[in-house]
Symmetry: C2
Subunit: 227 residues, 2 copies
């Protein structure tokens, strides 16, 4: 489904180049649940952003369903992302001028269905955000912003969820609720790439990828379990 | 040292008022290590911001060393904070136009000592940031930004550290390093108020405060252990 072929990403740093990804080869199958772990600064966010069509690799290809996504125009890539990928960003990236409900409905802007508003309200209810629907992001706690970012990624029933540390600011109960969501999404056939420092997803994941200084290795590699 | 007397904080929400703190009475002794826990949205950040002189309570007083800090002018309060409190914000709040080293040195702007730069470099080395000293925050990973925010709070040897979820974006090794820091600071006589969802500080803390819907209770309350 998503294949990183010999992907490297080099940033221009102030003290010389930073090689955030170093010749990464990783093939995520459709319907797989993969956990990505590694020390702070090891390249996890860069891996997710590259795999999701948001950050162009310096070298190598990202091929999704046979399509080399960085040969697309940025408009084509945006519509490809909108139709396929739900992204939970590590720093949320909510739109400050929209309220909670509007932020969750952003992915539907290009084609809203009648049922979207009710679905958004249901997602937010499950994430215990029903009494904050009209708040702006600045009127929310950090963990509440994180939950809005998660609801936004899930709304459009994407085929793939790329989640970057989605529970870093959540207490154990809220974190468990988020993981339940991701496992349900996966059981319904979705593909999940989850970056997390927590151990809670390990027993469920089919593969655990370790990133260290931009290089990957496999902490666990199993053929796809029938889920 | 820091005493919250009948403190309430009410925000104007979109769907009515939000009582983030509800008649909180909490007295933190000098040299104490207190952990604050509670569900997302329960009022932890508001408690820290109120105790630290940054958010004025709607009702009640915050008395530090006998001084009612919200009767001070905002300039007096700022210099009081600068001389006494090291703040680790949940969203870091680094200055985007300064590099890592400059951000850590911000607390010393009002009176830099010769030794500050070397101390800043030592703190950053211990937090494994030596090879990013000249990067801007936008050129860092999220956990790296968090570590810069921690170094900045520690630099001026404040008397009190107020840390809001300082390890949410860190892997276990980096998180352990931060906790080591806080315990060393405490052993040297510092006062620590640590908001965290993690359990790692529990055995060390002298008191564990639980916040639920703005109300506090004590999960553990001990007289000050000789540390
Ligand atoms: N500016 C604001 N306007 C309205 N409501 C607010 C504002 N800031 C915070 N709140 C509300 O006050 C409550 C407490 O917020 P606070 O940030 O203190 O929670 P928290 O315990 O730190 O949460 P988290 O663990 O998610 O960081 C939340 O329910 C939040 O929605
Ligand atoms: N714009 C940039 N310019 C220069 N270096 C960068 C830039 N963005 C990231 N980096 C560097 O690339 C490396 C990988 O960053 P990345 O954000 O992918 O790490 P991460 O594994 O997600 O870390 P964390 O767990 O702290 O979120 C880091 O060392 C960081 O300093
Ligand atoms: Mg990251
Ligand atoms: Mg908070």
């Amino acid at each position: 489904m998503i294949e990183l072929q010999n992907v490297s990403k080099v940033y221009a740093g102030q003290d010389g180049e930073v090689r955030a990804l170093d010749h990464v080869n990783l093939s995520i199958q459709r319907g797989e649940f993969v956990v990505i772990r590694g020390p702070s600064g090891s390249g996890k966010s860069t891996l997710l952003l590259t795999a999701g069509g948001l950050v162009r690799p310096t070298e190598g290809k990202v091929v999704v369903d046979g399509k080399d996504i960085y040969t697309l125009s940025s408009r084509e890539r945006a519509s490809f992302r909108g139709g396929n990928i739900g992204f939970v960003f590590q720093m949320f990236h909510l739109l400050p001028y929209l309220n909670v409900l509007e932020n969750v409905l952003v992915p539907t802007i290009s084609g809203a269905r009648k049922s979207d508003r009710t679905e958004a309200a249901e997602l937010l209810q499950r994430l215990k955000m029903s009494d904050r629907l009209h708040h702006r992001p600045s009127q929310l706690s950090t963990g509440q912003r994180q939950r809005v970012a998660i609801a936004r990624a899930l709304l459009n029933r994407p085929r793939v969820i790329l989640a970057d540390e989605p529970t870093g600011n959540l207490d154990p109960d809220n974190a468990a609720e988020v993981l339940d969501y991701l496992t349900e999404f996966h059981k319904a056939g979705g593909t999940v790439l989850l970056v997390t420092h927590e151990q809670y997803a390990d027993e469920y994941a089919q593969r655990i990828v370790l990133l260290q200084n931009g290089k990957i290795s496999f902490l666990r590699e199993e053929s796809l379990k029938p889920s």
